[in-house]
């Protein structure tokens, strides 16, 4: 095998990338729409999350000064920070019982804060991440249950479906998960992707007629150019092999 064949193939693949550089207006629109929705949620979290974190810090300092907590307990306490995304910094390694003091609002300083176990908080699934990229890049987030907005729930549903589809490669589980996402967000920013991926699950499960019905709107351009050619090819192939 000469090196030239590999070089020619590399040049061809390089050129395919160059040809693909053209703008895709539909993708741009979807990106901006998805981010606008998330931005609304983030503003809501900032409104409530930052005062909550500040109140927590004040409460801890007040408790330490007043002798209500020993320094060892303070050291063992979960560290909670808010970065505006509603994320919770993981607490120090287990070994001692950890508690999270949820402080009362500053306007009612005399109220004793309720105590919630940190272990009772939902645990985020660690997404596979490339070195050099913060795990924050993943849509899967660890949030306060009380601060959990509907948009965060639909994000989680989408992430679960995406995982079942692309990582676990389980079309039956993915189909259920895509359906769950679409029930929660039938007109969500990622609904077209969810509908298309759902159709692919139907193809893989051998539900030919359902798959054709699900793909037809894409093939006919109901979703703009999104997946139109690919859907048309799939419909044609499915009809040919009836």
């Amino acid at each position: 095998m000469s090196g030239d064949a590999l070089e020619r193939a590399v040049r061809a693949l390089r050129a395919s990338g160059d040809l693909a550089r053209r703008e895709n207006a539909e993708t741009r629109r979807r990106v901006l729409r998805a981010v606008a929705i998330r931005g609304g949620r983030r503003r809501g979290l900032l409104r409530w999350g930052v005062p909550l974190a500040a109140a927590l810090a004040l409460s801890s300092a007040w408790a330490a000064l007043g002798g209500r907590l020993g320094m060892s307990q303070l050291a063992a306490r979960a560290v909670v920070t808010s970065n505006g995304e509603g994320q919770v910094t993981p607490p120090p390694p287990a070994g001692t019982a950890r508690t999270l003091i949820v402080a009362a609002p500053p306007s009612t300083p005399d109220t004793s804060p309720p105590v919630v176990s940190v272990d009772a908080l939902p645990v985020a699934t660690a997404p596979p991440s490339a070195p050099g990229v913060r795990p924050d890049a993943s849509p899967v987030r660890r949030t306060f249950p009380s601060a959990r907005a509907p948009a965060a729930e639909t994000d989680d549903l989408y992430a679960a479906a995406h995982r079942a589809h692309f990582v676990d490669l389980d079309p039956a589980a993915a189909l259920s998960a895509w359906d769950a996402y679409l029930r929660a967000a039938p007109t969500g920013a990622l609904a077209p992707e969810a509908r298309y991926n759902r159709a692919l699950c139907l193809v893989r499960l051998g539900r030919r007629d359902d798959a054709i019905a699900a793909l037809q709107p894409f093939a006919s351009g109901s979703f703009g150019g999104y997946r139109q050619r690919e859907a048309a090819d799939l419909v044609e192939a499915l009809q040919r092999t009836r």
Binding site: L6, L13, S16, V31, R38, G132, D136, A137
Partner: protein, 194 residues
């Protein structure tokens, strides 16, 4: 986690990029639109080369820019924003590799080759054939070797930049590329490409 950047790969960010990054950190929608307009073609080109599948590449572009809003908080500015975006895209594209490979295998079983866009003169057809053969061969490489090969050989990045993107040393990157090149030659020979 911030990008770990070997000194050799450091590229001073210019003032307009600093300003764009600051606005992205503040969550300005216009800044995201600007970043998309400036860098989406770059990300798309990488995704197409890496996945060999234009539609899956489009999903990677979308996921990369949606993720940028959160990821930018960990951007230190030591690398170019463009490089940072590719590192996000690499992370996202990993999830699409197997699906793209399955689609490619199914196409090959049906004896069909991907169609070239628009009119297809002979050189276009040959380019499509060669890139499809290479993409199919890439499907059979370990993921780390595939990433290193595409970034270094196909995208013609420096080993320092690839090391930044994948978070490995330059020596490791060069070793991965060397192994990838050797395996690809064998695989292409088996496919009759000489």
């Amino acid at each position: 986690m911030a990008l770990a950047l070997p000194a050799a790969a450091a590229q001073p960010a210019c003032a307009p990029e600093d300003s764009l990054v600051a606005r992205l950190r503040r969550g300005e929608a216009e800044a995201l639109a600007e970043a998309y307009d400036a860098y989406s073609a770059h990300v798309r080109a990488f995704a197409v080369r890496f996945l060999g599948d234009a539609m899956a590449a489009e999903d990677v572009v979308q996921e990369t820019f949606v993720a940028l809003g959160a990821a930018i908080q960990g951007f230190t500015g030591a690398a170019a924003l463009r490089t940072f975006l590719v590192s996000i895209a690499v992370n996202r594209a990993r999830h699409h590799v197997r699906a793209a490979a399955r689609r490619r295998a199914a196409t090959a079983r049906l004896g069909e080759m991907p169609r070239a866009p628009g009119s297809t003169p002979e050189d276009d057809l040959e380019r499509v054939r060669l890139s499809a053969l290479l993409s199919r061969a890439l499907d059979r490489l370990p993921l780390d070797q595939r990433i290193a090969f595409v970034l270094f050989e196909v995208e013609e990045r420096t080993s320092a930049e690839v090391a930044t993107i994948v978070g490995a040393s330059e020596v490791t990157v060069r070793a991965r590329v060397w192994h990838a090149r050797r395996k690809l030659r064998e695989l292409l020979a088996k496919d009759g490409l000489r």
